[in-house]
C-alpha cells in the first residue's frame, strides 16, 4: 500500500501524480568550446501505462508568458519501463541554443533522473540533476557551499513553479562564520527559471569560500547551486532542499 499512497524518499521522493521538476537542462554551445546536453531517464513505476506531459521553462526573467503558453510534449510509457531520452531539449523541444527547467506531469508514479554534461570530442563531464516533486518547493530554501576562488565559481538558479503567482524573493548571503554579508531581492513572474552565473560577481560579493544562502519567498520556490571547477569546467549540482 505504501508505494501507492506515499512514495517519499529524501531527494527523489514524490507524491504520486505530483509535478516532477528538473531544475536545469541545456542544449547549448558555450564559452571555451563547451557543448552542454541533458539526458533524461524516466521510469514508469506503476502497473499501468503512463501518459506523461513534459513542459519546458526556458531560462530568462522575461519568459513567463512564453513558458506558460508553450505546448507540452506528450510521452507514453509502458509499465515498469524506463526510457532514456538523450539530449532532450533538442530531441523533444527542438531547442538549438537554450537552457531551462523541465516539468513532468502524469497521474502515474514516475521516477526521473537526469545528467547535464559537457560533451567534448574526447570526453564528457557533468552533473547529476534529480527530478524533484513539487511538494519540495518551499517558501524558505537554504543553499550551502557557494564559493568563488581561483579554483571554483558558483552559479545560482531559482525557479518559480507557480503558474499564477509572482515570487517575491529575498536572498541573504552569510560567510562561513554565519555573519550576514549581503542581501538582495529578486522578483520572478510565474513559471520563470533564472540562473545567475558567478553569483559573487552578479551580487557584488567578495570572493570567498563556504558562503551559505537563505532564500525567503512569497510563494514556494526551487533553487540550486552549480559549483564549477575553473580548470576543468566540471560542475556539481547542489539542490536547495537540504
Amino acid at each position: 500500500m505504501r508505494i501507492f499512497l506515499l512514495f517519499y524518499l529524501s531527494i527523489g521522493s514524490y507524491l504520486i501524480g505530483e509535478e516532477i521538476w528538473l531544475f536545469a537542462s541545456a542544449h547549448s554551445t558555450g564559452a571555451y568550446g563547451t557543448n552542454w546536453r541533458t539526458d533524461v531517464s524516466i521510469l514508469n513505476n506503476s502497473l499501468e501505462e503512463a501518459a506523461v506531459n513534459v513542459y519546458f521553462l526556458q531560462s530568462g526573467i522575461d519568459k513567463s508568458e512564453e513558458n506558460i503558453s508553450r505546448n507540452p510534449v506528450s510521452l507514453n510509457l509502458s509499465s515498469k519501463n524506463q526510457i532514456k531520452i538523450d539530449d532532450i531539449l533538442k530531441e523533444k523541444f527542438s531547442v538549438e541554443q537554450g537552457s531551462g527547467a523541465l516539468m513532468f506531469s502524469s497521474d502515474k508514479e514516475l521516477l526521473i533522473v537526469s545528467r547535464t554534461y559537457n560533451q567534448l570530442p574526447d570526453k564528457e563531464y557533468g552533473q547529476f540533476i534529480p527530478g524533484i516533486g513539487i511538494s519540495k518547493a518551499k517558501k524558505e530554501q537554504k543553499l550551502i557551499g557557494a564559493v568563488s576562488s581561483q579554483s571554483f565559481r558558483t552559479n545560482i538558479g531559482i525557479i518559480n513553479p507557480s503558474k499564477t503567482e509572482k515570487a517575491q524573493i529575498s536572498i541573504k548571503f552569510s560567510n562561513k562564520k554565519g555573519s550576514l554579508i549581503k542581501e538582495a531581492n529578486v522578483e520572478l513572474d510565474p513559471w520563470v527559471h533564472i540562473q545567475y552565473n558567478d553569483l559573487f560577481s552578479y551580487f557584488g560579493i567578495t570572493p570567498q569560500e563556504d558562503v551559505s544562502i537563505i532564500l525567503n519567498s512569497s510563494v514556494p520556490i526551487f533553487c540550486y547551486l552549480s559549483v564549477v571547477d575553473n580548470l576543468s569546467s566540471d560542475p556539481i549540482f547542489i539542490p536547495g532542499l537540504l
Binding site: 529524501s10 521510469l43 519501463n81 524506463q82 521516477l111 564528457e124 554565519g178 571547477d229
Partner: protein, 781 residues
Amino acid sequence: MKNIIIFISILLLSLVLNAQVLAPAADGHILRNQTYVFDQSNPNQTYGGNTTYFVYFQDLYVGGEDTFTADFDPNDGKATHYNRELRTILEFDISSLNLTPNTFSAFLKVTTDGNFYPTDPTLTVEVYDQAEAEENGAITKNDYSSATQLQESQSIDAQNFDKTYSFNVTNALNSDITNSRDYSGFVLIPNPRNGNEVSFVSTYEDQSGLKIPKIEISSLQPDINVTVPSSCSTIVGTQSISTITIRNTGQGILNIDSITEISDPQNFYTLDLTGLDNSLDPQESTNFNIIFLPQTTGNFSATFRISSNDLDENPYDFTLNCEATSAGVPSIVVETSICENVPTYTSYAVLITIRNVGTATLIISSIDEISDTSNVFEIDLTGINYNLPPSGYTIFSIIFSPDLSGNYSGTFRVSSNDPQKPNYDFNLNCTSISSTEPDIEVNPTEIFWNNARPSITSTQIVTIRNKSTNPTGILRISSVTLSGDSVYSLDTSELKLTLNPGEQTTFKINLLANATNIFKATVSINSNDTDTPTVLVNIISAVTLYGIQQNNVSSNNGFIIPASALASGAYGSNWVTDVKIYNSSNSNITLRIYFLPTQSNNISAASGDFILESSQTLSIPNILKILFGLTEGVGAILITPQQANSNLLTTSRTYNLTEEGTYGQFIKGYSVNDFITSGEKGYLLGLQKDSRMRTNVGFNSLSEGANLKISLYKGDGTLLASKEKALQANSHYQINDIFADLNVSGNSNSYAIVEVLSGSVFSYASVVNNQSNDPVFVPMY
C-alpha cells in the same frame, strides 16, 4: 519599319603629342606623335533607291572638326529603308596628306550605333578597298558595287551597340598614296547580304559625343630614347662608370650608326661600347658605358653624339656631368667595453666598437682571434657592418664565458683598408669571480595537524637550508611571514637570516586554537635565491574536541555521506572527498564525524568531535587525510549531532584530482530516515555500461547490519540478473562495474531495484564517464 539616323564625320588621325596639332612634315612622312585632323565641307548627301542605300563623303579638307548626317527617315522624302542590306561607302580626301609609302599603318575605326534591327547575336562586316574609278570624290550609285579587295572582316556584336571596331586598311591606303590619288575609299558590307536582318555600321567618336568614322595612321619609324645618369662622382685618380641606355620606342627598327665623343675639354671621359647592340627592334634597348677618370677636383662635362636612322632625332646629342672630389683616407679606431667580475659559469657579451675617423670609407675585411690561451672568448659578428663611411661605426661582440675565477686576456685583429693600420690588433682583458648564487631548501612545505585539540599548543619545526656548494653562495633570508587564520603564530627566535653554503636554520610554527574547526595558514619565506625567491609553507589543521578517537558508532540520528575516498582508482584516477556541514539550527551543535571504512564491521570507528555554532559552516577538505590522518581509504562518513532535533545540512564532493582540475560528484548527507527497511524497495535509475559510461553501485547499512537483493533490469523491464548481499554493521560496500559483477553485457538504458531483506539500507549508483573519469552520483529513489 524603323528610322535610322546616322551621324558621321571623318577624322584622319595619328598619335597625339602634348595635345598639339601640327602639320605634316615637308617630306611627307608622318612624324611621331603628331596629329592630323580632316573634316568635310559638304557632308550631308544621300542616295536612295528601291533596295539599297549608302552614305558617302566628299570634299574633305584639312581644317577644324565637323559632322554631317545621313538621313534615312522614311517620312522625309529623301530615303526609304526596306530592311535590306545596307552598305557604307567612306571616301576620304587624302590630297593634302603627305605620306611616304610603306612607312605607316592605317586602321579604319568605326562604331556601331543603336539604330539596328534586332538580329542575330553577331554580324560579320567586311571592309573592302573601293575601286580606283570610284575613288573620285563624288559618290554615285556606282559606288555601291565598287568594292574590290577585301581588307579585313570582323564579327561584330549586333545586339549591343556603341562598340568601336578597328579594320586594318594599311594596304589600301598605302596603294592610294603610292599612286598619288586624291581620294581613298572603302566599302563596308554586312554579311549575309540579302537577309532581312539589316545592320549598319555607323561611327562614334568621343569628341563632342558625335559619331565619327576615322582612320588612325601610325608611323612605322623608329624612335630613339636615351637615358643618361643625372650625376656621377668619384675621387680624383679613381674612375666612375656611367651606364647609358638606348631604347627604341618607335615602330620601326632603330639602327645605331655611331656613338662618338664630341666635347671633352679635359679628356677625362672614355667611351666603352663593349656589348652595344647596333640594331634595336621596337621596344628593345641596349647599354654602353662612359668612364670618368678625373685627374683634378671639380665638375666636368662631356658631350656625346649618337647617330641613327631616327628621322627627327638624328643626331642625338647628350651631356654627362661628373664631379671629382679629393682623395680621402680611412682611419680605424677600436673601443672595448668593461669586462669585470663576470660570475663563473655565465656568459657575458663584451661590446666592441669599430669607428672610422678618416675621410674615406673604411672597409673591414676580417676580424680574427689572435690569442685566447684559456679558450674563454668567442667572436660574435652578428649585425656587423663591414663598410663604414667617414664618422661611421659598427658594433660586434666578444662573448666571455669563464668556468674559473681569475683574470683573462685575449688578442684580436681587425683587418681593413686603413693604409696606416691594415691589421689593427687589440687586447681584451676580463676578470671573473665565482658564482654567488645560493640555493634554498625548506622542509616541510606542507604541514597538517589532524589530532589537535583546543587550548593545547602544537608546534611544528621548519628547517631552512642553503644547499649551495659555492663558497660565495650566501643565502640571505629577507623575511618569514605568516598569513591566514589567527590560531597560528611564528617563533623565529632561532632563525638565522644569513646562511653559508651547507648551513641551515629553523623556525617554529605554533598552533593554539580555542575552538574546534579547520584552520588554514601560509608561511612565506623570502630570500636572495633568485631561482626561488619565495617559498610557501601551507598549513592546515583539524582541531577537534578530543582529537581523533575510536568510538562506538551510533547512527540512529545521524547523516551518512554514502561514499568518500582518498584513493587511486581505475584509469589513473585519484579520488579525494571534501565535506561541508552547516548548522541550520539557532544554537550550537556538538557533532561527531566518523569514518566508516568500506567492507568493515564498524561497531566502532575513528571519529572527531566539533562544536558548530549556529549558521556556521564547517568545511573539511580532503577529510580522510586532514581529519582522519589517512594516506588512503574508501568508505562512508557518518555525522552524528549530539543534541536532539539538530538541524544540519551536510554535503560533500568526491572528485578525481587531475592536472586539468577536478572532476567530481556531489553527494549529500542522507538521514537515517532515508534508509529503506526490510521489505522495501529502492530504485537506481539511469544505469549504463557502454563505450561512454560505466556504473558502480554502493550500499550502506546501519548498526544492525543488513541483507539485500539487487536486481538489474533493461529499460523495457526485462530482468538481466540479480544477487544478494549481506552487509555488516554500519558498513559500506561498493560493487565496481555492476554489469560485470552480475556477468551481464553492457546496456545503455538500465535500472536496478534494491530490495531489503533485513535491516536498513541506503543505495546509490555512481555513473562514470570512461574518458574523463567524471562521475555523477545517483541516489536511491
